[in-house]
């Protein structure tokens, strides 16, 4: 088990900058998730830690050892790939043993480690089969087992669940969380799926445009996004971001929605709020549907999505602004109904025109 420290790490592919002076410290035993849209550089960053990409600038330490000049096999890391990357011509047993043989681990120990990993991942019955004879889920387990047998100080996962169907993905996600609890080894996991990030991570590193946008616990990222990008990238359904007319209200800010609805917030006033392009962020769960004539604002239900435990209602305000709102699972609202909206502004966020977020002083989690 070892921590990871990256200091001012950069990477270019030709003229294209893909990692721009990234610095990050991962504590030993932590489960870190790199989250970001396609092309943001998250996989490249992971591959730089693994040694599969060279580092143009900066340093990487795993534990006490500087590793950015070491080949991948000398870094004491194990990686699980998106497409499994099992050796097709070898049996699962041979796949698991290959790395240990390269390290000249005694045969008896190889056998014991393979058996242990196979039994913990329930692939003991498939050890003599080839990868092509296994299902996608079984292959992914074999790939994870191959990583486990090496007993590395750091696990790296490059979107390992993206090829699995929804049910299997959810199950494997839980198993990975259990595996982390059981092994206590540092894990870095790359994904563009925010559900995976929120459910697995101790801390999430949100990457955007080749640099780190925010680092925080899942709830910090969700409740107190540092930027408009983070706020809009994390959360399903997406956060409502609407234009805003801000006014000073003592030390705090009053936010007027485009339809004129005024919301008193606990966000300290900042002169930059008066600039054009300032926006307000409201999570859908902060806007509850109430009876017509009640609540803070009024709107018309345009689309009703029934998800079972809750209902999402896409409401249009009088000026045409669309808001995503939430109602109970057994909501009676139908498209074109007039509805009231009760807006809880305590978790509202104001974004300056540069995209920086300003939060309230008291935030309920």
């Amino acid at each position: 088990m070892a921590g990871v420290e990256m200091a001012c790490v950069s990477k270019r592919f030709g003229d294209v900058l893909v990692i721009d002076k990234v610095s990050l410290e991962v504590q030993a035993g932590e489960f870190i998730v790199f989250l970001g849209p396609s092309g943001c550089g998250k996989s490249t960053l992971l591959r730089m830690i693994a040694g599969l990409e060279t580092v143009d600038d900066g340093t990487i330490h795993i534990g006490e050892q500087r590793v950015d000049t070491l080949p991948p096999g000398k870094r004491d890391v194990a990686m699980v790939f998106q497409h499994y990357a099992l050796y097709p011509h070898m049996t699962i047993k041979e796949n698991l043993a290959f790395g240990l043989k390269n390290r000249r681990v005694p045969a008896s120990e190889i056998s014991a480690r393979v058996e242990a990993a196979a039994s913990s991942l329930e692939i003991g019955d498939f050890l003599e089969r080839r990868p092509g004879q296994l299902s996608g889920g079984q292959r992914q387990r074999a790939a994870i087992a191959r990583a486990i047998v090496k007993q590395p100080s750091l696990f790296l996962f490059d979107e390992p669940l993206s090829n699995l169907d929804a049910a299997l993905r959810a199950r494997t996600r839980i198993e990975l969380a259990q595996l982390h609890q059981q092994l206590g080894t540092t894990m870095i996991f790359v994904t563009h799926d925010q559900v995976e990030a929120m459910t697995l991570a101790d801390r999430i590193v949100v990457l955007h445009d080749h640099r780190i946008e925010q680092i925080g616990t899942p709830m910090e990222i969700y409740r107190r996004p540092a930027t408009k990008f983070v706020a809009s990238f994390v959360g399903t359904p997406k956060i409502n971001i609407v234009e805003l007319t801000a006014a000073k209200n003592g030390a705090m800010t009053t936010a007027a929605l485009p339809d004129g609805t005024a919301l008193e917030t606990c966000i300290p006033w900042n002169a930059s709020f008066a600039e054009t392009g300032t926006t307000l962020g409201l999570r859908p769960e902060a806007i509850r549907v109430v009876a017509q004539g009640e609540g803070t604002a009024a709107g018309r239900a345009k689309v009703v999505e029934r998800l079972g435990e809750r209902t999402l209602i896409y409401a249009e305000l009088s000026d045409g602004t669309m808001l995503t709102t939430e109602d109970r699972g057994d909501s009676q609202v139908r498209p074109d109904d007039m509805i009231g909206l009760s807006i809880d502004s305590s978790n509202a966020v104001i974004f300056t025109n540069e995209g920086r977020a300003h939060h309230g002083t008291q935030v309920s989690n």
Binding site: P72, G73, V77, F81, Q82, A85, H89, F98, G99, N102
Partner: protein
Amino acid sequence: MPAISSRRFFYVQVVVVTLAAGLMLVPLLWVLILSLKDSAALMSDTASAFSPPYTLENYANIIGGQQVSTWLLNSTIVSLAMTAGVLLLSSLAGYGFSRLEFPGRDALFVIVLLGLAIPEQAVIIGRHQLFSAISMHNSYTALVVPGLSMPFGVFLMTQYFRAIPLEIDEAARLDGASRFRIFWRILLPLTIPAQATLGIFTFFQAWNDYWWPLVSATNHDMLTLTVGIASTQVNFAQAEGLGFLMAQAVFAGAPMLLIYVIFQKYIVRAVAGAAGK
């Protein structure tokens, strides 16, 4: 109705294919029948081929004759050496072109591919002079070495290596394998279908090659089977020794037939152009 018409179409196809196959078999059967007849009997009446007696005497004469067994040995050595050499060089080159980054790689690959467009006829005089200058004619080296430069093999192996996901190499690198171990233990076994295809093609080509051995091997002990058999044809009308000649042809073709039967799956795949799939 559609089921009946599609079944009828299937039967028509079977009949057409059977007729075509039969047509192609006729000359082969003709050679086989002639090889089982006494040459003297054929000289007096070719139609006697269709009636007994049949004999294995021609084959006994081949096996008994020292020259043919020498030529057979030469052909075997040359074909096996060329096949092994082409597989080794094409695999290494294919790995290099697909996995290594070095200056001029793509330009070099294009140059190799240009080799596909240059016929042997265009270079054979220069090649002859070269081997003559270094006194290499009438040797196995001379018969084998020119065939080792096979652009098709390099192209085939490069494409095959390229089709193997890089993640496989990366997983092996993380498993602590050296570059050679990755090539030898991981990638090379994955290219076995392509190796089989290339190996069979190369062996066929080497076995059937006529022109270069004709130019290079002038010593009777260094002839390959194709050139050797041709050299026994002393009269163009083939009035004499027809049965013996046909037996030699069957004898020379038999190894090919055997290889075809054993490796039919790979040959069909290669001919269908699906070797890379």
